[in-house]
């Protein structure tokens, strides 16, 4: 229960521009992530907080192997997963999933809800029958608060909050161990944000999920996370238990962030 599910060690991610046809041109390098290390224990939620350019999305993409890291290593359940080729990483993809920021953009507009949610099933369990897939999809839809009779509808027929629920259903259907939530509620209306946050917490309990929760919204970060990591310009500023970060911020940047939070009362 308290094992390190994910261990990120000293990773750096550089964006370089080099040209294949004109190799004598100078390479420009931009260091998006600089020597970041952290661990995530099973069952807990680590909040990644930072502003634009902090590198939080880059770290997320590096963990799911969409981006290559330039140095360091990433371990998942003690297996190295950084910079693997597609074949080797396929079996880990079942266990690490992602929820994206823009709910409508993360769904293929030409596929209906049933096809979208069942895609992970079809990819990893190709032997399942159509009926089995259908039943599993409908079950997950009910669990995320969608009516299962909407299964043939297309993404543009749903509201933003419902689209995000579809995205969540898709990422949860394989019961992965780790879900990276990349600003899952930032594009939603305020009244829907709370619904989705509650849903995420519910699912965490139900399926024993571990979350890496990326957000720029500190209020939500505090509510969702057990531990919080603050990033600025690709570097880790502070990492501590949630309450500690907010009540006893150690670094100036953290203090600045907390004091900028608009307060209603």
């Amino acid at each position: 229960m308290f094992d390190k599910l994910l261990s990120v060690q000293n990773i750096s991610v550089d964006y370089t521009s080099n040209s294949f046809l004109f190799p004598w041109e100078k390479n420009l390098t931009f260091r998006a992530v600089d020597n970041v290390s952290f661990d995530v224990l099973e069952g807990e939620t680590l909040g990644m907080v930072g502003e634009t350019g902090s590198g939080k999305s880059t770290i997320a993409k590096a963990i799911i192997n969409i981006l290559k890291i330039s140095s360091g290593e990433i371990f998942f359940q003690n297996n190295q997963i950084s910079n693997l080729n597609e074949k080797k990483i396929k079996k880990f993809r079942k266990e690490i999933q992602m929820i994206f920021q823009d709910p409508l953009a993360s769904l293929n507009p030409r596929m209906n809800v049933g096809e979208i949610i069942s895609e992970p099933l079809k990819t990893h369990n190709s032997k399942l029958s159509k009926n089995d897939i259908n039943l599993q999809v409908k079950e997950i839809m009910e669990n995320v608060g969608l009516l299962s009779n909407q299964i043939n509808r297309y993404p543009h027929e749903f509201s933003g909050g419902q689209c995000q629920r579809i995205g969540i259903a898709r990422s949860v259907i394989l019961k992965p161990k780790l879900i990276i939530c990349d600003e899952p509620v930032s594009s939603l209306d305020v009244s829907i944000q709370a619904q989705v946050i509650n849903l995420l917490k519910e699912l965490q309990k139900k399926y024993n999920l571990t979350y890496l929760f990326i957000t720029h919204d500190l209020n939500i970060a505090k509510h969702m996370s057990d531990n919080i990591m603050v990033l600025q310009f690709g570097k880790m500023v502070e990492i501590n238990k949630s309450n500690e970060v907010f009540n006893n911020p150690k670094e100036d940047y953290t203090k600045q962030l907390i004091s900028s939070i608009p307060r209603i009362k």
């Binding site: 969409i66 079942k94 992602m98 823009d102 993360s106 769904l107 209906n112 043939n152 898709r170």
Partner: protein, 309 residues
């Protein structure tokens, strides 16, 4: 007990099937928008009628396309006139052959060249372009440089060369047109793929673990089809024009096969003898078909890319 459970499961499945709400896909919306466009619908109907003409026409023809009507030879400008009594609905050409049947045959051949050429372009070009665009990097560079090189070869010159060396035949025409038609499509598809590749749902598919070619098939190509369809409907007239030009030069289809270009060429040649019908009938079909394709292309573009999306 097991049987009862099975029955209940069946019933449950059936009930849930009944209640499922029908989805409204984007293709459906586009179809609705397309049919609201009057010009496009008229063009579609026109094309359909032309196709019908080429298939059903032979039923009404009194003469075949090869038969020479000896009775009109010698004075075609008065005897070869279009009339219903003689059975030459469109008149005769200068060799006394029935123009009605010749136009039917020309329509068949020209449309076939256009559509088959566009089909080759679509299939080859889409797969090539999507692969290049999706994989990017070196693969993309190499693949697109090949396209660039092939594009810079003067196409008409090569086509004429092929036809002269290997003889004039429909097969050669297809090969020649097919060799070149996919290049533009590949470029366009690659460009579209580059922008689709960056979309979040492609990232989501990679995260799920979908294999590369399945991503291209399931996520990229369906979202390209809009652009491809529009471009394909504009390719068809292009093909027909090319073939017509080649035939006009005398290098296209061999006798007794004929095409619009060949017929127009002959008709233009005999204009000064007053046998205008030899030019006007094939020209008429040629023009309305091309116009129809253009309007359909426009209609498709508007239907698939509305401003309010």
């Amino acid at each position: 007990m097991i049987i009862l459970n099975k029955k209940f499961n069946e019933i449950e499945k059936n009930i849930s099937k009944i209640q499922e709400v029908k989805g409204r896909s984007l293709w459906h919306d586009a179809r609705v928008r397309f049919f609201k466009n009057k010009a496009a619908v008229v063009s579609l109907t026109t094309l359909f009628l032309v196709l019908l003409f080429s298939f059903l026409g032979p039923i009404f023809a009194k003469w075949s396309n090869e038969e020479i009507d000896w009775s009109v030879l010698g004075d075609i400008s008065t005897l070869g006139y279009p009339s219903i009594e003689t059975g030459h609905y469109f008149g005769t050409d200068e060799l006394g052959r029935d123009l009605f049947s010749r136009v039917i045959q020309g329509t068949k051949i020209s449309l076939m060249v256009g559509i088959v050429g566009a089909l080759i372009a679509v299939v080859v070009g889409t797969i090539y372009g999507a692969t290049a665009g999706y994989f990017g990097g070196r693969i993309d560079s190499i693949m697109m440089r090949i396209v660039d090189i092939l594009m810079s070869i003067p196409y008409m010159f090569v086509l004429i060369l092929l036809l002269v060396i290997f003889g004039r035949s429909i097969l050669m025409l297809f090969i020649g047109i097919g060799l070149v038609s996919w290049l533009d499509m590949a470029r366009i598809v690659r460009g579209q793929t580059l922008s689709i590749k960056k979309k979040e749902y492609v990232e989501a598919a990679i995260t799920i673990g979908v294999s590369h070619f399945t991503i291209i098939r399931r996520h990229i190509i369906p979202n390209l089809l809009g652009v491809v369809a529009v471009y394909a409907t504009l390719l068809v007239p292009g093909m027909i024009l090319t073939e017509s030009f080649i035939s006009f030069l005398g290098l296209g289809v061999q006798e007794p096969n004929t095409s619009w270009g060949a017929l127009i060429s002959e008709g233009a040649g005999t204009m000064r003898y007053g046998t205008l019908w030899q030019l006007l009938f094939p020209l008429f079909f040629f023009v309305i078909s091309l116009f129809s394709f253009f309007f359909i292309g426009d209609g498709l573009r508007d239907a698939l890319d509305p401003k309010d999306r």
